[in-house]
Structure formats: structure tokens, C-alpha cells
């Protein structure tokens, strides 16, 4: 089942509007100065974030908007903006909660990032490529962590969601960590309503 058909199927089951502009959505949320912690929760806090740190104002999509989560991406930057290995290659797991349901449960993320070389899929076969030398904010020496899901997960309209990353005191530094969710989606389209 394609992303288009899956979204239409779930929206129909939930009685959500099927009209809307088809598009590709990428939702992202930033946690600044996360420090050393055992748990990160993305898409929970929006206060104080600018449009360059999140593209939502609350942890749910608007009415008539829905999307598929197909790709999850995690990035970590130091205060200068240099891309770093997410959580320092510590073992970490990721969970996604939509409404009161856990739709991704304790998925390990560290295999799909730099230096490990054991990515889940062939798409990320070069995730382990590192160029050596000193990374700067203008000179990137590794890739962010990204996982392509095999099952399309739907975020329906007006249902809260969050992404949790668990670890044993992983070091996320004093810069920022970013989580992005990407996939096919629908945005509100007034058509000739107004």
C-alpha cells in the first residue's frame, strides 16, 4: 500500500476530511542546550522556539491536515553549529507516541549513524562514511542519523504526538538537537470555500 493510499484509508476510517492539498511534509522540532540526559522528548515544548527551530506551534496538526511518517531524522549540533554524532554513538532507542498509542517502540537509532556501518537498510549504506579531520560548522565530516520506516505511520488531524529518545545518560551537549519527521501529507486547502 502506497503512502497515498494508507493516508486516505486511515483518514477515511477516522472520518477525517479527505480534501486537501497533497504535499510532502517535514515537521521538525529543536531542543536547545539538552546537556546530558537519559530522555529527550521532541514535539513537546514549543515555547521560545523560532520558525527556524520548529515549524509547528503545538504538538498536533491542524484540522484537515494529516501526514505519514516515513522518515525519522535526528541531528545534534554544538554551539558553533558543527554537526555531531547524535548522542555520541551511545546506544539509544526511539519511540513515537500518537494520541495514547505507541506506534514505534524502542527502535534503536545508533546503527544508522556515523562510524557504525550497520545501517538497517541499503539506502543508508554510506551512513558510516566519515572523512576524518576536524569538523567545523562549514565543514561536515559525517552524516546525520536517519531511519526510513518500513511501515507508514499516520498522524491524523488534531491528535497530539511526540518522539521520545531514551538512553543511559547520553551526552547531547550545549548546542541543540533536532528531530525531523518526513513523509507524504495533506495541508488545509480552502478551495472555493472562502
Amino acid at each position: 500500500m502506497s503512502q497515498i493510499n494508507k493516508l486516505a484509508y486511515v483518514d477515511n476510517k477516522l472520518g477525517a476530511p479527505s480534501q486537501g492539498q497533497q504535499t510532502t511534509r517535514i515537521l521538525f522540532n529543536t531542543i536547545t542546550a539538552p546537556g546530558t540526559t537519559s530522555g529527550l522528548i521532541f514535539f513537546k515544548t514549543f515555547q521560545g522556539l523560532t520558525n527556524g527551530q520548529t515549524n509547528l506551534v503545538q504538538n498536533k496538526l491542524d484540522a484537515s491536515e494529516s501526514m505519514i511518517i516515513k522518515t525519522i531524522m535526528l541531528m545534534q549540533y554544538n554551539t558553533e553549529g558543527t554537526l555531531q554524532t547524535f548522542g555520541g554513538q551511545e546506544q539509544q532507542t526511539l519511540s513515537i507516541i500518537v494520541g495514547n498509542q505507541q506506534v514505534v517502540k524502542n527502535l534503536p537509532i545508533q546503527f544508522n549513524q556515523g562510524g557504525v556501518g550497520q545501517s538497517f537498510d541499503r539506502l543508508h549504506s554510506n551512513a558510516a562514511v566519515g572523512t576524518g579531520g576536524v569538523a567545523t560548522f562549514e565543514r561536515q565530516t559525517e552524516f546525520p542519523c536517519e531511519i526510513r520506516l518500513l511501515t507508514d505511520i499516520v498522524i491524523p488531524p488534531q491528535v497530539s504526538f511526540e518522539v521520545r529518545v531514551d538512553s543511559n545518560n547520553a551526552v547531547y551537549g550545549t548546542g541543540a538537537v533536532v528531530c525531523a519527521l518526513s513523509g507524504y501529507g495533506k495541508i488545509f486547502s480552502a478551495g472555493n470555500t472562502f
Binding site: 510532502t24 522556539l49 527556524g52 559525517e142
Partner: protein
């Protein structure tokens, strides 16, 4: 739904009955924001062809269209013969371009981020810049989006443009684009429909 199915579906909805008889092709359109106005394609008519754009205006002719399947951002060094550059190399890994794609009076992509350190679903073929010695090599991430599911059709004779801003994700501040001798550019790539006269002429 294939690209051709989507084009025919939208053409049918818009009453473009002759679009199905036109020449199917592959194409891309590109332009740069020379005014640092935060808009790309809207000033294409004033830009030199092909060094800055391959358009004469930001709308297609009769019976021409583009199904956008990929969108990418780059920068042009306007002091060095408009040489192409990578966004990350100039603005840094922490930079994020947040953009909208507007077709006619409709926003078809909404607050979409393109991350300086690379965008989701682009890592299989990221460019690795091999320099000597190896310690100076670097990764040039793709500041690009591959549209999921179906693409987005730009129909004939409808104006379109991309509206964008660049931010620093760590500080949240807007990154000014007019402090460097570089312009932000964008291309839209996908299945193209070209005007085909058949036996008319």
C-alpha cells in the same frame, strides 16, 4: 499513482483537455534570488539566461507543465562567475532553509525545512568531496527534498514562486543572506510536459 497519472488527473480537474496530447519529457527549472528578497522565481524575467535562470517568466506556456518531484537549494557566487556552491559550505550545518512553494494563490508546500546538514531521504548518494590530504575531505550534504507519494503539478500559465528564509537552528536567529556575495538559488525537477503541435502547423 505514477507521475503521468497525476498530471492527467490534475489536467482533467482543471479542464485542460489537450494536455494529454502533449510531449512528455523530463525537465528542471532554476532561478536565484539576486535581490535577497526571500523569493525565488518571481524575478526570473529580469535574470540572465542561462547563467542565473532557464526561464523567461515564472509561468509556463500554453500546454506546458511540470510535475515537481524534487526541490533543491544551492548558492551562486556572484563575484566568481556565478559558480555553484553548496549551502552547507557557506551557511553551515546548523542552517535551515524554511520555504513555501506557492502556485497561483495557493501554498502547496508549507513551512518545509531544508537542513544545512542534509535533508531526510537524501543520504544514499550524498556527495563526498575528496580532497588531498584525506584530513581535509568533507561531506557535501544534499540540501534537497524528494517529494513523497505524488509530486506537485505546476499547470500551464499559472505563476509560481518559492518563498524562503534561512535560520540558525541552534540560536533560532535569521541568517541574513545579503552579507555575502552569494545568492540563494533553487531548482524544481520532475516530469515535464512540452507543447507539441502534432499536425497543427
Amino acid at each position: 499513482m505514477t507521475a503521468q497519472d497525476k498530471i492527467l488527473y490534475v489536467a482533467n480537474k482543471l479542464g485542460l483537455t489537450s494536455l494529454k496530447d502533449m510531449q512528455a519529457s523530463t525537465g528542471a527549472v532554476y532561478d536565484v534570488d539576486t535581490d535577497h528578497s526571500g523569493q525565488i522565481f518571481s524575478s526570473a524575467s529580469r535574470h540572465q539566461n542561462p547563467s542565473l535562470t532557464n526561464l523567461t517568466q515564472n509561468q509556463f506556456e500554453v500546454n506546458e507543465a511540470l510535475l515537481v518531484e524534487s526541490i533543491a537549494f544551492y548558492n551562486l557566487d556572484n563575484e566568481d562567475g556565478n559558480q555553484l556552491g553548496n549551502i552547507q559550505n557557506v551557511y553551515g550545518s546548523q542552517a535551515v532553509i524554511v520555504f513555501d512553494l506557492i502556485i497561483g494563490n495557493k501554498r502547496t508546500m508549507k513551512s518545509t525545512p531544508v537542513f544545512g546538514s542534509g535533508t531526510p531521504f537524501t543520504f544514499a548518494t550524498s556527495g563526498i568531496k575528496n580532497l588531498a590530504p584525506a584530513a581535509t575531505s568533507q561531506i557535501n550534504p544534499r540540501n534537497q527534498i524528494f517529494l513523497e507519494g505524488a509530486g506537485i503539478l505546476i499547470p500551464p500559465q499559472v505563476q509560481w514562486y518559492v518563498e524562503y528564509q534561512i535560520f540558525n537552528m541552534v540560536t533560532g536567529a535569521v541568517i541574513p543572506t545579503n552579507e555575502l556575495a552569494r545568492n540563494i538559488g533553487c531548482y524544481l525537477f520532475g516530469t515535464r510536459v512540452l507543447l507539441n503541435f502534432n499536425t497543427s502547423i
